[in-house]
Amino acid sequence: MKELSRAQIRDLMGEVLKNQGKALPSDDAADLREIGFRSLDFSELALRVEDATGEELNFDAPGLRRITTVGDVLDFLVELQRQ
């Protein structure tokens, strides 16, 4: 299975925000609410990861509640690809 690196997922996250007219800060600690990264954006990012890897992701919904920063998103998706 093809797996995306954290940096590659970060690039995809930047594309999602760019399409919304927003910018992805370089700081992984940036708060998602402050940069306007919402559930629609998160879902789009997941689809982009699926498209890039050709694999469907299996989400653990309870885990999503712990995601509040850019770094949380990247860590979660990196981890999810390995499940």
Binding site: N19, S39, L40
Partner: protein
């Protein structure tokens, strides 16, 4: 049975002397092969010539007939047809068919069977007669009609019955392998009236707009799929003086809605209006419901069409199939048809398809496929700054749609996909 031919039948329908162009060759209905068919016959054709011959045979003899292209009828459906008493016969290929000449039941004289498009599963049989399929009556201006539809479909019968029953209504048949270049064929044979799906028209505009403009069309008809304002407007630009109509018709309810004013949808004051001899149109729980005098056998009374209808201003828009049109994005309902209309209204989009895709958190997200304008016949390179991209289209949609309805993944295709039915989605 093997296919046999006999001398010309003595009885001919009123349109027998109309011109019929098949494989590019001008004939008349009289010149088509005269067939001997078993009864009841399920005739599966490999060419338009034999489809027309079977239609004329029915008009002359009243033979109970189900007509379809061979490709639409799989082995299981052939078995079903045999089980219900049909003799399955293939025409127009190097096949010898069945070694029986009569079915296992008494034929129903005058009965014609259509197969539904199968958009909600396997095609179903719907019973009609030549009379119930002949919805254009009265004196019509002489026309040469293009017939691009697959033989045996409701739309095919609409054009065929017109030519069979009315002198002066000629036909130019488009075989599947001629579909990409039909404007040249149509221009050569003086086609001045054509009926097709919106996908059929979009492909023609996309592939070769100059070639399309050379066809001397005075009547353009759209049907079989949702008809949006953009495609009507684009055809109007090419054919400013022609009558452009759209029609809502199906095997089940017949031709039920015909609109000539160049606008998408139909006037809301047509709803629930009862006029003798005409269909009554209603909307119940967002679904188009039709009571039609042109219905198929056993389908009298209100028929739930499965199509979604929405009141927008003073028009009722038919946006697509109910089971496919509604996308639930995190509890918010999105009409795929309305999103598609927004995309196709972009000046650089020739065609779009909108669907729901499974997504985390929200259940589904709206995604799309588009074909940019710039016909495939146009060899000029498109400047990079004029290329439409995903971000541009996302912004275009975001300006006009709620956030949850904006397609987030938009795939760019190079060619408009089309099925045998001339539709994109079925």
């Amino acid at each position: 049975m093997s296919v046999e031919t006999v001398p010309q039948a003595p009885v001919h329908p009123a349109g027998a002397d109309n011109r019929v162009v098949v494989d590019g060759t001008p004939l008349t209905w009289r010149d088509l092969p005269e067939l001997i068919l078993p009864e009841p016959a399920a005739v599966l054709v490999h060419s338009a010539r034999y489809a027309l011959a079977a239609a004329r045979h029915h008009a002359a003899h009243g033979t109970e007939l189900l007509l379809s292209t061979a490709s639409r009828v799989d082995a299981a459906m052939r078995d079903d047809l045999r089980d219900t008493g049909f003799v399955v016969t293939e025409l127009g290929a190097q096949t010898t068919g069945e070694a029986v000449t009569t079915g296992t039941r008494t034929a129903e004289r005058g009965r014609l069977w259509l197969l539904t498009s199968g958009s909600t599963g396997r095609p179903k049989r719907v019973g009609h007669t030549l009379e119930s399929l002949t919805t254009v009556r009265g004196q019509q201006p002489a026309r040469t009609w293009l017939c691009p539809y697959a033989p045996g479909t409701y739309a095919w019968w609409q054009v065929v019955t017109l030519s069979l029953t009315q002198p002066g209504q000629h036909l130019v048949v488009v075989e599947p392998d001629q579909l990409d270049d039909w404007p040249a064929l149509a221009a050569e044979h003086g086609v001045d009236a054509a009926s097709g799906t919106p996908t059929f028209w979009r492909r023609a505009l996309h592939r070769d707009p100059d070639g399309l403009a050379r066809v001397p069309l005075r009547q353009l008809t759209l049907g079989g799929e949702p008809v949006d304002q953009t495609i009507l407007d684009r055809l109007r630009e090419v054919f400013p003086a022609a009558r452009i109509s759209w029609i809502y018709a199906s095997s089940e309810v017949g031709a039920a809605i015909v609109v000539h004013d160049g606008q998408a949808g139909f006037p809301a004051d047509w709803l629930d209006r009862e006029v003798a001899g005409r269909p009554t149109i209603g909307v119940r729980d967002g679904e188009l419901v039709i009571t039609s005098p042109y219905h198929g056998a056993g389908l009298d009374g209100p028929v739930r069409t499965g199509d979604r209808a929405q009141l927008v201003g003073d028009r009722v828009l038919i946006t697509g199939r109910l089971d496919a049109d509604e996308i639930n994005v995190g509890g918010s309902k999105v009409s795929a048809g309305l999103v598609r209309d927004v995309l196709t209204a972009h000046p650089q989009v020739a065609w779009a398809r909108v669907t729901g895709r499974r997504a985390p958190l929200l259940g589904h997200m709206v995604v799309a496929e588009v074909v940019p304008t710039g016909g495939v016949a146009d060899p000029r390179p498109v400047p990079a700054e004029a290329m439409v991209d995903e971000a541009t289209l996302v912004r275009w949609c975001a300006d006009q749609l709620p956030e949850y309805a904006v397609p987030r993944r938009i795939r760019v295709l190079t060619e408009i996909p089309v099925k045998e039915t001339l539709k994109s989605d079925v």
